[in-house]
Amino acid sequence: MSTSATLVLLGAFLASAVEMVEALTIVLGVGIVRGWRSTLIGVAAATIVLAALVAALGPALRVLPIETLRLVVGALLLAFGLQWLRKAILRSSGYTPMHDEDESFRRHRAQAAAAGREEKARLDWYSFTVAFKGVLLEGLEVVFIVISFGSAQGRLGLASAGAGAAFVLVVGAGVLARGPLERIPENTIKFAVGLLLTSFGCFWGAEGTGVDWPGDELSLLGVIGFLGALSFLLVRALRRQRLVLVPAEVKA
């Protein structure tokens, strides 16, 4: 398997796993408190919408010339990936609290318990809409990543396999644990995903404008190394800056 194929598989797997862990937390939080029937119907409805989106977008993207596709996908991945990377650096340096899946689960459970009961079409409307929205929004990010990774590299099957493996692993672990997957090092995975999304975005975005990368696909590793080193340095610099700022702010 080539370098870029391995990275496409790994990127799709990790990004999908992170989004699916977040969707699972929402679904568990609602399902445990309010019952499973309406919650699972919400999950199924969101899955159908996502499947329809993939079925419509997948073939449509094949019509576009590969250079245009790489430019558009690269630009979107860059914008999206840099947000992840920026957030991950802020978390690692202590400026933003780490994402806590257990805390998120408790919050969703408390909200589900406090919400009133409204029946529509013989469904508990709260459970249905929260599960539907949660799976749809997290799923849209998975769909975007899988389609962009797959289509720009011409390896939609490989990217889908990565997402499929993540689905089996996350849902399997969720069923076994019967609770949120707080032991998964989500913040570290998000850092890695941000790095991969930004690197792929940089590589494809530049290729889309007509650039010839020195060393072709191997330069992707160079971009990952460069952005990885940059992120490491930024985390260290921000940690030092924070240590200087904290005493002054605490005194104030």
Binding site: F80, L90, L238
Partner: protein, 77 residues
């Protein structure tokens, strides 16, 4: 109308996010790379440099802005 607004907001958050300057800078860098490449300069180096500058600039702005009480609590943690 509500759904159109929600849809637009979703895509704005998805693509632009917390710092619109980063998205605008990326669009400018991609445009400049395209311009240079079509003028015969293989500007493969431009985008990584632009990303480094935009990321560092965005983090610098974020960590220097006045912070809320909740932010300050997380500072001290």
């Amino acid at each position: 109308m509500k759904y159109v607004r929600s849809f637009g907001l979703f895509w704005w958050n998805f693509v632009v996010g917390d710092d619109w300057r980063v998205a605008a800078g990326l669009a400018f860098a991609l445009g400049l790379t395209s311009l240079l490449t079509h003028s015969g300069v293989n500007a493969w180096w431009l985008l990584p440099v632009a990303i480094a500058l935009l990321l560092a600039g965005s983090l610098w702005r974020e960590t220097r802005r006045p912070r809320s009480r909740e932010d300050q609590r997380s500072y001290a943690r």
